[in-house]
Symmetry: C2
Subunit: 208 residues, 2 copies
């Protein structure tokens, strides 16, 4: 969603030599993401982002309710393309592609990501910002792709798509946040196989 | 596992008026669990636990490598009975019973539990203690129950039991730590149904 800034109409008028709102937003998100990924969520302040992006601190105060909200918008934005859901028409293949990219991302940025989730525990404002500006947005994109598959008859009726999100991406976050077993692409393949094949014995085996 | 304390043989000799090692361990774990659940993981120090349990601080130093290790042993011990795996011979029913108890526990102690996991992020010593003294122990118990079911033909060969742990308990932790959707017993039922029934369309529907 494009932020609007009715209190600062000058920002929307390039004719006055001011940057367009969209450019300001892009520069801000890029600066915030860079700060987040290099120094962690606690280092991210409006002052630092404003200085790095060449944007007035007042603009950030107007557009984002808190540094946490800005951090998670920036985090979402930074990885939106990497985590995009392909739609080749084969949901199992597409989930495999996306989950491999997701696990690769978790492995490349493990300490930053676990630091973000960790910081949100016990900090209600940061938790609310994480939920609103990141978790809810990512879940929505996943559920949209899964809903296409269900409509196409590749996922049966009666499956709860929100629950599937926890059994795929949530299972991977579990290995990141409470580590004990490796977080690999083979793990992603097993997550998907268990759900598509089911774990009950094949009736043809006569074991059920 | 019972701790041994070869450096302090007196602790093992009730004839000398000292408490038996097992009693000392029980009193220590109970005091540590109470402190953990009322004041959080950061409040737990060897001094506080020793004072509360009436145990010498030196004993705690000998038995536990860190306050975190003691905290997570105590946490494991406090809920071992609540989280026990029934074995009625029907794994799906038994998983339902256990997961309902687990989700009830997460809901009753949400802030403490998310505080523990949060504190472990970005603190390598606490993370190691959590992994060794809690996560690995709980996973082992889950895998043992699932292995019984697989041997009994209630879970098909080829299912990776460690991955199942992430798709059941890990999925629930995901809703606790990155909240966006409710953590209910109906959610537990759906986790189990997705895995046992699979999410692919029923071939009889002709939709596949």
């Amino acid at each position: 969603m494009e932020p609007t800034d009715p209190g600062d109409p000058g920002a929307l008028k390039p004719g006055r030599g001011r940057r367009r709102a969209q450019d300001v937003r892009r520069a801000t998100l890029a600066a915030a993401a860079e700060l987040l990924l290099t120094e962690g969520v606690h280092a991210l302040t409006f002052s630092k982002v404003a200085a790095r992006a060449g944007v007035s601190k007042m603009t950030l105060y107007k557009w984002w309710p808190s540094p946490g909200a800005l951090a998670f918008d920036a985090y979402f934005d930074a990885f939106e393309e990497t985590l995009a859901f392909p739609d080749t028409g084969d949901v199992r293949a597409d989930l495999t592609t996306q989950l491999h990219a997701f696990i690769d991302l978790l492995n490349r940025n493990g300490p930053v990501i676990s630091g973000i989730v960790g910081a949100a525990q016990g900090d209600p404002d940061l938790a609310e910002a994480l939920s609103t500006h990141y978790v809810t947005q990512r879940r929505r994109l996943a559920v949209e792709r899964l809903a296409v598959a269900r409509r196409a008859g590749q996922i049966r009726e009666g499956v709860d798509l929100e629950t599937l999100v926890d059994q795929l991406w949530g299972a991977a976050y579990h290995r990141l946040l409470m580590p004990a077993q490796p977080l690999t692409t083979e793990f992603a393949d097993r997550l998907i196989a268990h759900l598509f094949l089911g774990i009950a014995p094949d009736p043809a085996d006569g074991a059920g």
